[in-house]
């Protein structure tokens, strides 16, 4: 809402400097977003508290200022109205959703004169153009005292006015539209005998609107149920000042004030005569009373405020207070019936009045701090390990567009086809909640490759969302290019599946969780991997992750050219399991004895299987079998066998043991696996 400083001064005394006024408005919760010097004077664009319908006017803002400063409020001039109850020939209330309805007759005596520019200044400052005197006066009054009103052309009304719910299929020709539109059934409307005149509290209609030829006006000023107005505005997608005011809760005592203000403006400035005002409905003030415990409230707001001061400050906001030393009985005024219910609400008024920055600032006593949880420690360790390896942590969106399924090559019927689907996303790319992170990993890679950075290492702590609305937390990472560097003196090796396996081994060691590599074919993403270069990550007999090189066809679909990225993901629950207890092994006083044996191993037989064969015939004093060399062209693998015993080991014993292990390999694989010199 844009407000004119000079006009606000007609409602309450303010500091001289516009900047001081700005700070004062901020201090009372009327947040000034911008402050502009305009021909009419200083204009503030203010953000009002979303629950306070009474703020939507100069009078409401002035009341907040008065509550803080104690300055007396100044009131707008009103016409004296000839008020009488409406009978059925004038107004009928057929719905309890209208609390009070007033209709004031106004008739033009001679030619209509416009409102003077100085009177219109609050509207022009808010960039609202002058339309017709009656419309301008209505808009001004809404701004000024916070009571929306609507001027009908009385000569276009057919019979008495009825406030009722709309019927099925009923249409209304709303203002600013080209043709009648259907009104949702059950909407609160203002109607005459033949048509809808307006959507209650939201907007009027074209076929009862005032025009330049209008001589007689029927001025509506009413108060409607906030929920009814909100539902109507939402269903019909209408966003008007009146609706904004009513849906936050109107003041049922204000319609006559609003009518009197509009009438005053039209009579004083525009040449209208005021006729009778008819009132339908009888709003019963609940006089809600709140008992305020003085000591408790003093403690709560951190101010030793005497009860009489509390009472005085509350009256500035319109509350009535029955004084007392221990307790105050506070009556909620009609303009606050929608938001004040509890002692805490009263406390808020007192703090606002005293000043949010003026109350005491304390820090409650803390007996003991807290330690990081196991999960936090694991996350920190993983972060440290991956960052030390050159990985960057990233955050990707939790959703993607429907086209992602096609890019991944997922067809209908595929287990990954089903997603949690957004019902109302305004962005096309947010149609589906992701059920995998692979697509985003590849997009991230492509982004960097296109920026001439093919050496990429990224990871994310992410969630994926299953069609049953459950969520799975996982850690994923992607690497491409070299495993380190590349440096001028060290090109490193390719960041391949073996590299990821090494990372996982480090994770296992660092976290002390029982992660094993094994078959990958049970993992839901298996088909996206190079079948000969991937493995599953197993924990407690379950596949909890996968790692390896991505499938060439998948890379083609994502337009990844000349790159061989590797990807891993692991369910975080597998990382958060309690660590395996540490066991210390005393180092031996003896030196180990080492023998080496090399084999050519054909495709289809793993080095691990050969190692297992060696191990199967190993003596008790075998300490470790390590792979120390590998020639890819010949698939030649060198195993280093380390023996260690508390007894002295002779060369004969060692050689015999080694020969036995070599024989075991020969027995298992025959000529397929050949020993190299």
């Amino acid at each position: 809402m844009k407000i004119l400083l000079e006009h606000l001064r007609t409602h309450v005394n303010l500091p001289e400097s516009p900047r001081e006024v700005r700070e004062l408005l901020d201090d009372v919760g009327i947040e000034v977003k911008t402050m502009d010097a305009k021909p009419q004077g200083t204009v503030y664009n203010v953000e009002l508290l979303a629950n306070r319908g009474d703020h939507y006017s100069y009078a409401g803002i002035a009341r907040e200022v008065s509550g803080r400063t104690g300055e007396r409020l100044k009131y707008s001039k009103l016409a004296k109205l000839d008020v009488q109850p409406a009978d059925a020939t004038k107004v009928r209330l057929d719905s309890p959703l209208c609390f009070l309805y007033t209709l004031t007759e106004l008739e033009l005596a001679g030619d209509a004169r416009p409102l003077p520019p100085e009177v219109l200044a609050p509207l022009t400052a808010a960039d609202i153009h002058s339309v017709l005197p009656s419309v301008d006066a209505s808009n001004l009054t809404n701004f000024d005292v916070g009571q929306p009103s609507h001027a009908f052309d009385a000569d276009r009304i057919d019979g008495p006015i009825t406030v009722r719910l709309s019927h099925k299929g009923e249409k209304a020709w709303l203002l600013f539209t080209d043709e009648p539109t259907e009104v949702p059934e059950g909407t609160l409307v203002i109607a005459d005998d033949s048509k809808i005149l307006g959507i209650a509290g939201v907007i009027g209609c074209h076929d009862s609107a005032v025009t330049e030829n209008t001589k007689r006006i029927a001025l509506e000023a009413a108060c409607f149920d906030p929920v009814a107005v909100r539902i109507a505005a939402r269903q019909m997608n209408l966003n008007t000042d009146a609706a904004a005011r009513f849906m936050r809760g109107g003041d049922p005592t204000q319609p006559l004030v609003g009518a009197a203000r509009v009438a005053y403006l039209l009579e004083q400035h525009c040449g209208y005569r005021i006729g009778r005002t008819y009132v339908a409905g009888e709003w019963v003030n609940p006089f809600r009373k709140i008992e305020v415990d003085v000591a408790r409230t003093q403690h709560f707001i951190s101010v030793e405020m005497p009860p009489d001061e509390m009472a005085e400050r509350l009256t500035r906001y319109g509350f009535a207070v029955e004084p007392g030393d221990q307790k105050l009985i506070v009556t909620v005024p009609p303009h606050r019936i929608w938001d004040v219910f509890f002692e805490a609400d009263i406390a808020e008024e007192l703090v606002k009045s005293y000043g949010y920055n003026a109350t005491a600032t304390t820090l409650p006593r803390v007996d003991m701090g807290a330690l990081p949880s196991q999960e936090e420690n694991v996350v920190a360790k993983v972060n440290e390990l991956l960052v030390a390896e050159g990985f960057y942590e990233i955050f990707t969106d939790s959703f993607y567009g429907r086209g992602t399924r096609e890019r991944l090559g997922i067809a209908e019927g595929d287990p990954l086809w089903a997603h949690v689907e957004m019902q109302n996303s305004i962005e096309r790319n947010y149609a589906l909640m992701r059920n995998n992170t692979l697509a985003q990993a590849l997009d991230a890679l492509v982004t960097n490759v296109n920026l001439k950075n093919a050496n990429v290492k990224m990871y994310e702590w992410a969630r994926v969302y299953r069609p049953d609305m459950s969520e799975q937390s996982l850690l994923w990472g992607i690497a491409n290019g070299r495993d380190r560097g590349p440096f001028w003196g060290d090109k490193g090796r390719t960041a391949d599946a073996i590299y990821l396996k090494g990372l996982l081994a480090q994770l296992r060691l660092e976290l002390r969780v029982d992660l094993q590599t094994g078959a990958a074919n049970e993992h839901r993403l298996f088909r996206f991997f190079h079948a000969g270069r991937c493995a599953g990550i197993h924990a407690n007999g379950r596949v909890v992750g996968i790692f390896g090189e991505l499938h060439p066809l998948l890379l083609q679909r994502f337009d990844v050219k000349r790159q061989r990225p590797v990807y891993f993901e692991i369910e975080t629950d597998a990382l958060f399991t309690p660590p395996i207890p540490r066991v210390y092994t005393e180092p031996s006083n003896r030196q180990p004895v080492v023998r080496s044996v090399a084999y050519s191993i054909p495709i289809g037989i793993t080095a691990g299987a050969v190692r297992e064969a060696l191990q199967s015939a190993a003596p008790a004093f075998l300490r470790e079998i390590r792979i120390t060399d590998y020639y890819e062209d010949a698939r030649a693998v060198t195993f280093e066998i380390e023996y260690l015993s508390d007894e002295a080991l002779t060369g004969e014993v060692i050689n015999a043991a080694t020969e036995g292990m070599i024989a075991a390999v020969k027995e298992r694989f025959g000529e397929k696996v050949t020993q190299r010199a």
Partner: protein, 345 residues
Amino acid sequence: MSTHQTLETFRADLRAAETPDAIAELRTRYLGKKSYVKTALKSLGSMPAEERPKFAQEVNAAAATIERELDDATARIAEAAVAKQIEAEWQDLSMPGIAQERGSVHPLTTVHTSAMNVMRRLGFTIAEGPEIETPYYNFDALNIPENHPARDMQDTFWLPNNMLLRSHTTTVQARVLQQRPPLPIKVVALGRVYRNEAVDATHLAMFHQFEGIWVEEGLTFGDLKGTLLEIAKSIYGENHKFRFKPKYYPYTEPSVGMDMQCTVCLGKSDHCPSCRGAGWITILGSGMIHPKVFIEFGYDHTKLSGIAFGIGTTRIAAQASGITALKPLYEQDLRVHRSIHRGGL
């Protein structure tokens, strides 16, 4: 050959010796079993008794001299060899260093870690909750009933079966309160939240929040302010000015906004691009937990009170990283992340 001649010959040979092996050969030749020294000492028995002491003294002195000069030469040659090695092993240290370059955690993680450091000192622990939520935890339990304007404050992503994506991490607080843990309750929830907004440089459909609640008997508005100051100073540093202002959040009463004085104009410019002349930048929202929230979960709001606060950590991370837009934080251009991490180094 006399002792004197032997010494002279030795010295001539020594001058010609340039390697450790040559020195070793001289040591054998002049001090070994067949050397003049050993032979001369063996011959003492056949000499007249009165000549022996003088001769023995002369030979021993020569032996000591040879020994000393051989040691000196050994040291000299070794030193020269090392000097030569050092010269040969010169490295061009203008070449770039070689070590695995570290990556970096995300700036949001850095902010969360800093905030958690202070929260732990105050006894807070982390609680987690789902991102796919029911309207009950996102709205109704937090005093945002259906058809209340507050629902418009947060454009919601709706999912099938009347589920939604949480629009704030306050949902976690609702779930914690529902569990009725023992008092005091001190939990922090952090993570992704979602708003169905058109995305631009400063508006995101997904961003991060960091929220906390502290429920205990006797907590006051002053405690709320003190706690907020402690958190803000831990994140932004001690040398900033802060202020509080009334706000509206459905789940707190009173509700409080916290501003930090604009670090660009220090509140002195009406045209500052950072604060748009306000002089202040809002950094967090907070308040005392609303009685209706306590009532919803069966607590006695006349006896208990609670502090609640929420921080949009995405904006803080952007500020700390020195970037003006929020979107790059959620993009995967590693040049951006590297630049943030290196911070000009």
